[in-house]
Amino acid sequence: MAAIQVNHLSKSYGSFQAVDDISFEVEAGAVFALLGRNGAGKTTTIELLTGFRRPDAGTVRVLGLDPIRDRAQVRGNVGIMLQEAGFFPDLTAGQTVEIWRDFTPAARPASEALELAGLTAKAKTKVRQLSGGEKRRLDLALALLGRPDVLFLDEPTTGMDPEARRDVWEVVRDLAARGTTVLLTTHYLEEAQQLATNLAIMDRGEIVVGGDMAETLAARVGRVSFELPSVVQPGELPLPATVRGKVAVVQAADPDLAAQTLLSWASERGLRLRGLEVRTASLEDLFLELAHNGETAQNSTTTRDARA
């Protein structure tokens, strides 16, 4: 059963179309990554899913409920980590969690929420003295307080150091393993690739790529790059390559096979391929490719408009 269902959802602010007719589903227990550049519509989508905003068109169902109409029921079963939200600066982290327990039905003990978020050592520290990353952890502790069935994480690890980020990844994996559905947005593509089983990439309010993470990446080409030997012309290579400066890049559906072909070819000629790097398609490649395509499309539209 789908924990989150989005059908033809649209939202605009004045003349700005923030979300434009998007549809997707997130299965119960899955981790779903919503990606895109700044202003792509991710946060608006989360705000629509959590009932903070009313859609202009389309429907949203979270655990089969309408987040606006059935707000109390939905909020009772979801945890929300907003991209931007304030704290009371003069309370300690422990007091903040303790107070939030008053607002949360069937809340975890404060110590458990703090431990999950890795904040036990900072329980007696005032919020105003916490670092940006520690505040995000406090945010996470509050989101986890009600043992939610669905967790919305809007850029959960922004400002965290690499170790803290990995700790949060562990928490998310653990929650997903226990059946919690997680929808996250992030600018760290490695994070999305590590955690998510499904993804949607948004651009200017639309979903431009979506589906299973592994399948989506498998459908993309990998790349082999190396320093082009000075005695070799690009046209002599056994595979088509683009050359930027000294580096030749070969794009291939099977980058391992392409690397073998290139190494055999170099060996026959007594050449060394310095700096050889073999990469399967990553989310970052896909993201950059889409961003590049988007910019090209936008530029051509602007040019057409200018000519008109």
Partner: protein, 253 residues
């Protein structure tokens, strides 16, 4: 959780934040006591034969001023600060309903205003010739109700004032008009006002407060409460409609 429990949880949070803030408590208490009790004490001490009616007039006028500051200004500033620091948004991300959040803040502020009014009144009963009200429950109900209506008006101020730093100054004209209408500047100043100005000022919630509290102190026919109760009801409804349709959870960007 039940709505009442939610409201009380938010009120408890607001109270906890207020009482642990020594400067805020000190400021409100010092200002309140100086204004609400200090000024009548000073004037009474300077009069050769202080008339109870004069003291009562000053008490009610200054109580109206005090309630406007403690309820309207305090609500406008508190909600605006919570909105700007994105705390309202965070509270809304919890299981709390919007009504529970705003209602809880109002319960906390009305409680503070009522406690301050009680303190000021007791000081005056102790140190002046002013006797306690003949109908103390009516007086208490009047203070709480007027504080509630004034706090609701404070919510409206927090919505319509576009710049959060101007929230407190924006309530000053309302506070001065309330003080003037309630007789805080004394019977001589009130007597100088044109009739239509006095009539208009009496339409403020503090005008209703003076009428009801006057009845509580002097005794009288409950039938005379109809006008002031209607006045407070209209103000409360207008404010509730404005809050229902205009309230903002996010800061203006």
């Amino acid at each position: 959780m039940t709505p009442v429990r939610d409201v009380l949880a938010v009120a408890r949070l607001g109270g906890r934040l207020f009482w642990r803030d020594g400067r805020a408590v000190g400021g409100v208490a010092v200002l309140g006591v100086c204004l609400g009790a200090g000024l009548p004490l000073l004037v009474t001490a300077s009069l050769r034969s202080p008339d109870v009616e004069v003291v009562l007039g000053m008490h009610l006028g200054l109580l109206a001023t005090l309630l406007t500051i403690a309820a309207t200004t305090q609500t406008a500033v508190t909600l605006s600060a919570r909105r700007e620091s994105l705390v309202l948004k965070r509270l809304r991300a919890s299981g709390l309903s919007g009504r529970a959040i705003v209602g809880g803040e109002l319960v906390n502020i009305v409680t503070q205003a009522a406690l301050l009014s009680a303190l000021v009144s007791v000081i005056l009963y102790t140190f002046t010739s002013l006797p306690p009200p003949e109908l103390p429950l009516l007086f208490a109900a009047c203070v709480v109700t007027v504080a509630g209506v004034l706090a609701l008006i404070g919510v409206v101020f927090s919505i319509v004032t576009r710049r959060p730093d101007l929230n407190a100054p924006a309530t000053i004209p309302f506070m001065l008009a309330s003080a003037l209408g309630a007789g805080a500047y004394g019977p001589f100043v009130a007597g100088l006002l044109p009739g239509w100005v006095r009539w208009a000022l009496d339409l403020l919630p503090t005008g209703a407060m003076v009428e009801i509290a006057g009845l509580a102190y002097g005794g009288g026919e409950p039938a005379t409460l109809t006008g002031p109760v209607l006045n407070l009801t209209v103000w409360a409804l207008l404010a509730l409609v404005a809050v229902r349709f205009l309230f903002r959870w996010d800061p203006r960007r």
